[in-house]
Amino acid sequence: MKWLLVATIVGATTCGELLQTYGMKRHGEIHDFRPGPLGRAFGRVARNPFVAASVLFMAVSFFAFLALLKVADLSFAVPATAATYVLETVLARFLLKERVGRRRWAGALLVACGVPLIAL
């Protein structure tokens, strides 16, 4: 049960964040931070199917995380889900075609090791 929830969280978070990044890149860079234009930009973002799907995935991940906290300690939950950092970096490289150089790999690995340590 514990590991099923971990797999759900990692899978849903990864799908959600990849979809959100893809959706926001399709929308294009937000330049205008005045309230009116910013509100209109978010109105368009809300109708973006990739962003809408990402919110759904993140909701699944959120509730699975709450369920995990009921059956496991936080010191198990946080390290187990830190796997998303590595998985998302790999998938962003291949699916979103981001250029991940040595520094980014090193940074992602350092963070993926650091997060479990902090949660202990």
């Binding site: 929308h27 368009r44 963070v111 650091g114």
Partner: protein, 135 residues
């Protein structure tokens, strides 16, 4: 690979700071509100609690600011950089709640800070912008 202009760097750092702070303070308020639950229906008590309301508002701000940041920055840039929130949470726990920070935790903090510094100096965007810009 295009170099990031100073203006883009400034905008990115400012937004990353908003993303990090809204997440840390939002979780902090939410956990404070959830712990101070009184008698009666726990769901209703949570909804009516001002700390919970503040936490939820901050987490909405977190979500929107993160989406804005992702409208130009790489996911592989945003993810490690915003992990600095874990460090801030640990330090807030030590400063404001008097929590003990073990050597293992300090090691984790050091690893994350090193990761953030490494990634923070890479180009913010490595994909081509504006392939499909809606008017």
């Amino acid at each position: 690979m295009t170099a990031s202009s100073p203006r883009l760097r400034f905008k990115t750092r400012l937004l990353a700071a908003i993303v990090i702070c809204s997440n840390v303070l939002g979780n902090f308020s939410l956990s404070r509100g959830m712990r101070s639950g009184g008698a009666g229906n726990p769901f209703l008590a949570a909804v009516l609690n001002p700390w919970v309301a503040l936490g939820v508002s901050l987490l909405i701000l977190w979500m929107l600011s993160r989406m804005t940041l992702l409208s130009w920055a790489d996911l592989t840039y945003v993810l490690p950089v915003t992990a600095f929130g874990y460090v801030l949470t640990a330090l807030m726990g030590r400063l404001f709640l008097g929590e003990h920070v073990s050597p293992g935790r300090w090691t984790g903090i050091a690893l994350i800070v090193a990761g953030v510094v490494l990634v923070g100096n890479t180009p913010i965007r490595t994909t081509r912008p504006g392939e499909r810009r809606s008017a």
